[in-house]
């Protein structure tokens, strides 16, 4: 188990390193710098600015300096937000985005699994077609459309829910979570339907029925665990994707999360911020992939035994 994790982490390190390096040089080669503004900056001022952020050094020196800082866990100061370090900004946004992502996934799971399981119980009937059609729409409904639509209906017309904010007014977390979760709900619905169909055709489901188990127990106890393994495997990458992809939702609902920084950093050419978020996210992606692999393996006793090592 430990060995497996260690190997995976060791495999991830070069990936993260290459990502850092590639990103570093990519962002530097993008046109426009962090201090370019509509009103042209006096050359002397610009020089002073660059000196303050060590941008006047040769590129490779900057690179090694960055790596040095990174090794100590310092992601550097933000260019766009003077007075704030990238570390600080990341850690102010992370809990919010993580919470948002968590709720979104939770909603996605509730809706997706329920819909998928129901659809799988009576394939090729209305009970299958209706949730799956909704899932198709869900997959393709962009959040820039769904968000405002939900706000309009539930926030303004019905006046049930707050339309912006995060943790300021009770209930203000509902709409953003649904907006962000819907696409994932749709994917999960499809995944769990396919997984359940696969499992429900297995011999051991017949065994369970032969024991006289009522259908709901057959489904929940015998089929669900195996049927949801693809879903579990999907959750890791999905959660990492949520963190990176929450930008639109965070903007629509004015949520102080990480996604906004991630995207805006690119537009602002906030070099340290871009790098910081990228390093952070790629680490998270690796981490969550690992977690979901381990969870999926843990759910599967056969693989679990392998982790324990040796026993055959």
């Amino acid at each position: 188990m430990l060995r497996f994790m260690l190997i995976r982490i060791l495999q991830a390190l070069p990936v993260i390193f290459v990502v850092i390096t590639a990103t570093f040089f990519l962002v530097r080669s993008a046109p426009g710098g962090p201090f370019d503004q509509e009103k042209v900056v006096i050359p002397e001022v610009k020089k002073a600015l660059e000196a303050q952020y060590k941008l006047d050094l040769p590129l490779h020196e900057q690179y090694f300096a960055y790596l040095g800082d990174l090794a100590q866990g310092d992601l550097g100061p933000s260019f766009k937000y003077p007075g704030r370090s990238v570390n600080e900004i990341l850690f102010s946004g992370l809990p919010v985005t993580a919470e948002l992502g968590f709720y979104a996934l939770l909603i996605a799971l509730c809706i997706g699994v329920t819909a998928g399981v129901f659809a799988s119980l009576r394939p090729n009937t209305a009970q299958d077609y209706i949730p799956m059609s909704l899932a198709m729409i869900g997959i393709c409904m962009p959040s820039f459309l769904l968000g405002p639509l939900l706000v309009l209906v539930f926030g303004i017309w019905l006046d049930w829910l707050p339309i912006t904010g995060w943790g300021d007014i009770p209930g203000d977390k509902i709409l953003p979570s649904i907006t962000l979760g819907s696409a994932y709900a749709a994917y999960i619905a499809r995944l769990s339907r396919a997984g359940m169909l696969e499992i429900l055709s297995q011999d051991y489901i017949r065994t369970a029925r032969a024991k006289g188990l009522p259908e709901w127990l057959v489904v929940t106890r015998h089929a669900l665990r195996g049927g949801l393994i693809p879903v579990i495997a999907f959750l890791g990458p999905a959660f990492a994707g949520l963190l990176a992809g929450s930008f639109v939702v965070e903007t629509i609902f004015q949520i102080p999360g990480l996604g906004r920084f991630y995207v805006q950093a690119a537009f602002n050419r906030d070099y340290t911020m871009i790098l910081g978020t990228t390093v952070f996210l790629s680490t998270l992606i690796v981490f969550f992939n690992l977690v979901s692999d381990i969870t999926a393996a843990w759910l599967n006793p056969r693989l679990r035994a392998q982790f324990k090592g040796g026993s055959r």
Binding site: D203, R206, T207, G212, L213, G226, P301, A305, G310, R312
Partner: protein, 529 residues
């Protein structure tokens, strides 16, 4: 009174491709304290009739057209789902064919075991566990208390089948339906399981309905035998009546198919086509420190024109040895000299040239054919690849191959799934023969087939071998089959060769204890007795 009385049962299936009557007016009875066997080939409707009684045939596409099945006075076919559920697992329990897939791999066996107990008897988890452990002990699971929380994959096939049996018996049912409970098992295990079922039946006074395709299997245990063919019951009677006075030609055919003959060994001149020396094929699983020594220091020779039988249980390394000879498994050490050339040193085109000269027939004809290629494409591929014929002659060559393996030419555009297992194996044989090889490894080519089909395929192999002058390594766990086909026999155990010799010598005078136990487990002792 009969335990179960089935009257005029008819079941049909309705699919997009039309409807098909699987069971036609079948009537039979199962007496308490007796083992009733239903025998028939796959597709004869023997399983469907049992599943239909318990409401386990999915409807649609299945439909019960008529009949009744009186179980203790209640018509199972007329019961609602709820009442039926109360009977399933309590009064009637089932064992299925493949213990590998019939246990939930995600649940500890203990949990699965006590499930019917808690469901039907409402026992507490603790009491249920005590009962389960007793039962595990009874079916021969060692240290049942420790294995209670183990998962199915931690058991071998035979052990899993024991767990299945324990699970079926846990509620002390009155009727046990065993659907091919030994077909997926090695012969040695098969013998043990058969004995177990017979013993349990006697000790517990239950009725057993035993479904099998193999008359030999039920020969020793059945009190009554029913023979089915294409949904119709063609004959029934006591074992004695069936085995000794079979009326129906189909029954006679089944009897004839029981492998019993042996080959008149031809004296082969020792002229080694293949010489294997100190072959080791070890696997290094990423999660284990110790390598798996699938083949460990094996040396052997295969002579031109002979059929060498390789026997052993699953996991003995016999398949890996066969694959290693063909360079399909990674060789760790040693050499395989084929007609003077060491194959282990070859790569790329030279290897490809040798691949033409040696072919393989796989165990599972369902898996060894590309499901998305028609027979034509499957057969054309090796012909074109090795330039055995050009496109002009292709059709003719394929037609000849089809004739050779006994497939109607009309099937040429069909896909593997449209064929029966035996036909598929014929396609696979055709593919192997297409390259006009000198050497063929046949890896359990008949194990997945019904006995009647087995006999046909074996005959075909023998005939083709003679016709094409083939040298063959015939891998099998089934001693009876080996005896029928092999000139010489090697016995493999845990990666090593333990015994070898001429077939009759081995069968007549086995030296090693292991070989003796293999021989003892050949089913159908009652037949020869």
């Amino acid at each position: 009174m009969s335990l179960l009385k089935v009257d005029n049962l008819s079941v049909s299936f309705h699919t997009r491709n039309g409807s098909h009557q699987a069971v036609k007016n079948v009537s039979f009875t199962v007496e308490p304290r007796e083992i009733t066997a239903i025998i028939g080939e796959s597709g004869s409707g023997k399983s469907v009739s049992c599943y239909a009684m318990l409401g386990l045939v999915p409807t649609p596409p299945g439909r019960i057209d008529g009949g009744s099945a009186l179980f203790e006075g209640a018509d199972l076919l007329a019961l609602g789902e709820r009442e039926l559920r109360a009977i399933r697992g309590r009064d009637i329990a089932m064992i299925f064919q493949d213990p590998m897939t019939c246990l939930n791999p995600f649940m500890a066996i203990g949990q699965q075991l006590i499930e019917p107990l808690r469901l039907h008897k409402g026992l507490s988890a603790k009491d249920a566990k005590i009962r389960a452990i007793e039962l595990l002990d009874e079916v021969g699971i060692r240290s049942p208390a420790d294995t209670f929380d183990s998962y199915p994959h931690e058991f071998s096939g035979g052990m899993r089948q024991r767990v299945m049996i324990a699970m079926a018996l846990i509620n002390e049912p009155k009727l046990l339906i065993a659907d091919e409970p030994t077909t997926a098992l090695d012969v040695t295990i098969q013998a043990q399981i058969l004995r177990l079922i017979a013993d349990l039946q006697k000790n517990r006074d239950i009725g057993v309905l035993f479904i099998s395709h193999d008359l030999a299997v039920v020969a020793d245990i059945a009190d009554q035998i029913i023979v089915m063919e294409q949904g119709v019951m063609v004959e029934h009677g006591s074992p004695d009546a069936i085995f000794n006075h079979a009326q129906h030609p189909y029954t006679q055919k089944l009897l004839a198919a029981i492998p019993s003959g042996h080959r008149t060994a031809e004296r082969i001149k020792p002229d080694p086509l293949i010489a294997v020396t100190h072959l080791r094929t070890w696997f290094y699983p990423s999660n284990a420190r110790e390598p798996v020594k699938a083949v460990d220091d094996v040396s052997l020779e295969i002579h031109r024109g002979e059929v060498l039988g390789l026997v052993g249980e699953s996991g003995s390394g016999k398949s890996t040895l066969g694959r290693s000879l063909l360079r399909l498994a990674p060789i760790t050490e040693g050499s395989v000299v084929f007609d003077g050339t060491d194959l282990t040193q070859l790569e790329g085109n030279p290897l490809k040239a040798f691949r033409r000269r040696m072919q393989m027939i796989f165990q599972d004809p369902f898996a060894s054919l590309n499901p998305r290629m028609t027979v034509y494409d499957t057969l054309a591929e090796p012909l074109l690849l090795h330039k055995i014929c050009d496109r002009k002659n292709l059709d003719a060559a394929i037609a000849t191959l089809m004739d050779d393996v006994g497939l109607a030419r009309a099937f040429i555009r069909k896909y593997p799934h449209e064929f029966s297992g035996g036909q598929r194996q014929r396609i696979a044989i055709g593919r192997a023969l297409a390259t006009k090889p000198e050497f063929i490894v046949a890896d359990e080519p008949v194990s997945a087939l019904d006995v009647t089909i087995q006999a046909q395929i074996l005959e075909l192999l023998v005939a083709l071998g003679r016709e094409h002058g083939l040298t063959m390594l015939f891998v099998s766990h089934d001693m009876a089959v080996i005896r029928q086909i092999a000139d010489r026999v090697m016995v493999m155990y845990q990666g090593k060769l333990v015994e070898q010799g001429d077939t009759e010598e081995i069968f007549g005078h086995p030296r090693e204890a292991y070989t003796q136990s293999l021989l003892a487990s050949i089913p159908g002792v009652a037949l020869s007795a």
